[in-house]
Amino acid sequence: MIRFPLIPVLLVVAGFAAATQDRYLMDVFVLTCLYGTMAVAWNLAAGFTGLLSLGHSLFIGIGAYTVAYGVTAHGLSPWVMLPLAVLIAVVCALAIGVLCFRYGLKGYYFGIATLAFSEIAFFLVSAAVWLGRSDGMMLPAGGDPWISLQFRAKWPYGLMILVVLLATLIAGWALLRAKTGYYWRSIRDNEEAAEALGVPIFGFKLFSFALSAGIVAVCGAFYACYVAFVDPRSVLGVELSIQLLVFSIIGGMGLLWGPLLGAAILIPASELLRIWIGASFYGVNIVLYASLLIGLALFLPQGLGALRWRRRVS
């Protein structure tokens, strides 16, 4: 039932190959893969385990800020900071998870709790002098690019995020087809029935949430290197969490690669609208983008992925 996402994987690799010649295309490719990976990871928790997190920007921000702080304040390589970033994000996710699951927060209540945690982080960081307050932090260029991860060309970034995306898809596929995936989906569909059938729900919810947080922390760390600038608005804001949700809903939350599909349509679409219309009629592109979202949500409530891959109904 859970088939290997061969076609999406091939398309992504082909997309990378096609974009190597053009800096702008490669930028769109990198953003698509970056947001696609984060949305796929978000959906492992939200779409497959029923943990509707509205605060994933917290973990993205932890990834981005850990790297940015290590690089700017101590001159450390992002490679050194990356494991630390993932560790901090996973520990935070476990702590939030233990608190929420211990007290039985489910559904929207869990979403609101996670949102609250990410907003607390947003305001704390906005006030922290050593993290650049709301002005953010600029990562310095220079040094060996494979150590500082500051490249002049775009393709190395494309290659890195491609590897992260493929690893996420393969790991997600391997987990979903095994016991873990079945247990996650049973928890999503009915927690009490799952527990009565031998599913240790507490541990599997924690695993799902922490795994999802760890993957988006990697993406946040990558973001810091790619953009070379982090500020609370771009990596800790609620808009970021909502974006992951939008990509997943539009692409299809019942599919591993649905959120990637959503990102692969909406990110290039918003770029195209900005180029064609945004320059002459500023704002109209945003109106059109919003209309596109509303239309998709109205006419394809199961997401675009559901068009072809409808579940079998006898």
Binding site: D189, E195, A196, G198, V313
Partner: protein
């Protein structure tokens, strides 16, 4: 006969309301035992206390000699005591086979082994043809059978069935009764909650009667049903006619 399940002095209250008080009975190995009683007598609460969904305030539940009260439901399930829910709880986003496979993972860690086990359980219950059907579109009779299939896939020694027959037609109920007898013949011990007296007298070797959270009487089904107090509890005693 040895008691496989020993319920010993279970008490449970919600705020000021006492749902169960000092409930005690034993389920012999290989029996079909019925828990009967009027609405609100505490039957489902008792089930929840045995299966771990609720923690009893007092008393002990021994399963195969081991105390299980207060354990989490997934631990109790893995020990070999599986339950179904009166209000069916299918995994609606999954197929029938996948629903049963979730339960089979309690005994098999690897996917192919769990799937083979799940298919065997479905075939056994005559449900193989619905394996690929979406659980979300099943009717209530099929959902009840799915509840049983999932519980069986955890390889239980004791099966707790909570009002499996409520809302079924006579034909559907008769088919399900046959299935329950067949399970007992294969060595399962069955404890069921049932509201309908005819079903209990047709199906159960022994019965416990609960009334207002207490055991009214317990014994072989025919003797229990003949008891005058049981009939009072169900039908009410004749009230004096005002003149």
């Amino acid at each position: 006969m040895t008691a496989l399940l020993d319920v010993d002095g279970i008490g449970k209250s919600f705020g000021g309301l006492t749902a169960l008080r000092d409930v005690a009975f034993q389920v012999p190995q290989g029996a079909i035992m019925g828990i009967i009683g009027p609405n609100g007598a505490g039957k489902t609460t008792l089930f929840n206390c045995i299966s771990g969904l609720m923690k009893p305030d007092a008393g002990r539940v021994r399963f195969g000699g081991r105390e299980i009260q207060g354990l989490r439901p997934h631990r109790i399930c893995r020990l070999g005591l599986a339950r179904t829910f009166q209000i069916v709880r299918p995994f609606r986003g999954m197929s029938v086979l996948e629903n049963v496979k979730v339960a089979a993972f309690a005994r098999h860690d690897r996917g192919p082994a769990a799937e083979a086990h799940a298919r065997a359980v479905l075939a056994d219950l005559g449900m193989a043809h619905m394996a690929a059907t979406d659980a979300g579109i099943l009717g209530v009779a099929e959902l009840r059978r799915l509840e049983i299939a999932r519980a069986l896939a955890t390889d239980p020694q004791v099966l707790l069935l909570d009002e499996m027959l409520a809302g079924l037609t006579a034909t559907e109920a008769a088919a399900l009764c046959d299935q329950i007898r067949a399970l007992r013949d294969r060595g399962l011990t069955i404890l069921l909650v049932e509201h309908s007296v005819p079903v209990v007298s047709a199906l159960c070797d022994r019965a416990v009667v609960l009334n207002f959270g207490e055991v009214l009487t317990e014994g072989p089904t025919a003797a229990v049903l003949a008891d005058g107090r049981v009939q009072d509890a169900y039908l009410g005693s004749a009230a004096p006619c005002p003149t």
